[in-house]
């Protein structure tokens, strides 16, 4: 089963997994809430999309491919809105952003 399709799909899904892991590392390393949101909110977008495109390549041309395509489309719409909503909620409750040189929280 070492066809070219399988290899491309594996590379894409592995790339997606790499970005998801990077997001988690950022969540642990970054100093405060806002910067952690940068790590998770951005790495998720490309991570998920690469995994989905990998699944599309693996699946070939069928209805499932179309469903996966719509899934990708909705992630592109929902991800920034969700990130923005969490950030705005934190800002409105008065959480002070971390500045360079301060201690991490």
């Amino acid at each position: 089963m070492f066809s070219i399709i399988n290899i491309i799909a594996t590379i894409l899904i592995a790339g997606g997994a790499f970005f998801m892991v990077t997001g988690v590392v950022g969540l642990l390393r970054f100093p405060d809430f806002y910067t952690r949101l940068h790590a998770t909110g951005k790495c998720d977008t490309l991570g998920e999309v690469l995994v989905i495109v990998g699944c599309m390549v693996y699946q070939g041309w069928s209805f499932i491919t179309i469903k996966l395509f719509f899934l990708m489309f909705f992630i592109f719409l929902a991800n920034p809105v969700g990130t923005h909503a969490i950030m705005k909620a934190a800002y409105l409750t008065g959480l002070k952003p971390w500045k360079k040189g301060e201690e991490r929280r």
Binding site: F19, T22, G23, V25, G26, R29, F30, P31, D32, Y34, T35, L37, H38, A39, G41, K42, C43, T45, L46, G47, S62, F63, I66, K67, F70, F76, L77, N79, P80, V81, T83, H84, M87, K88, Y91, P97, W98, K99, K100
Partner: protein, 177 residues
């Protein structure tokens, strides 16, 4: 009066068609590839799409805007650039996360745009959140004022000085930048 009613029926038909085509794609109840055909899904789709159309036909397409078609084409032309920016954003964040010294210098910036329409403001806000190092915190729609959290100086300057993205969004929605 009759004219707006006619327009309303046409609008409902358009919304119904969009919803029903989406239902057919999602339920895969007519599949030419393997000859699958299931009438119960088709009828259920008509009922569901009909109910949703009756309840919310005025939400999907609010009013007839000017030059909607041209704006749609410009939006489609804008998407590849945006995808490229998302790609860069992820490498940018991955670099900042994995660099041993963690080169971040967060700040909150504020800037005014002359964009006013809801679609233009939403597109710009989402684009800012998706592109490298910046997340929209708040918008004042009346003044077109954006409050943005930037992770370092460079992405903040990209918004404050370059204004590439603002100009591109203004071009898509045909507003003054």
């Amino acid at each position: 009066m009759t004219r707006s009613k006619e327009h309303n029926v046409g609008l409902m038909l358009a919304v119904f068609a969009v919803l029903y085509i989406f239902w057919l794609l999602m339920s895969a109840c007519i599949n030419p590839l393997n000859g699958h055909f299931s009438p119960i899904h088709i009828i259920a789709g008509i009922i569901c799409a009909g109910v949703v159309t009756l309840l919310s036909h005025d939400l999907l397409i609010t009013k007839e805007g000017e030059m909607t078609l041209a704006k749609t084409f410009r939006l489609i032309a804008y998407v590849p650039w945006e995808l490229w920016q998302i790609f860069l954003a992820n490498f940018d964040v991955a670099y900042r996360v994995l660099h041993p010294k963690m080169p971040i210098d967060p700040r909150i910036i504020e800037f005014d745009t002359s964009l006013r329409s809801d679609f233009a403001l939403t597109t710009l806000a989402n684009s800012i959140t998706l592109t490298p190092g910046t997340i929209t915190i708040d918008i004042d729609p009346g003044k077109g004022r954006f409050l943005v959290h930037a992770i370092a100086k460079k992405p903040a300057d990209a918004l404050l000085v370059d204004k590439t993205m603002i100009n591109k969004v203004a071009h898509v929605y045909m507003e003054e930048a």
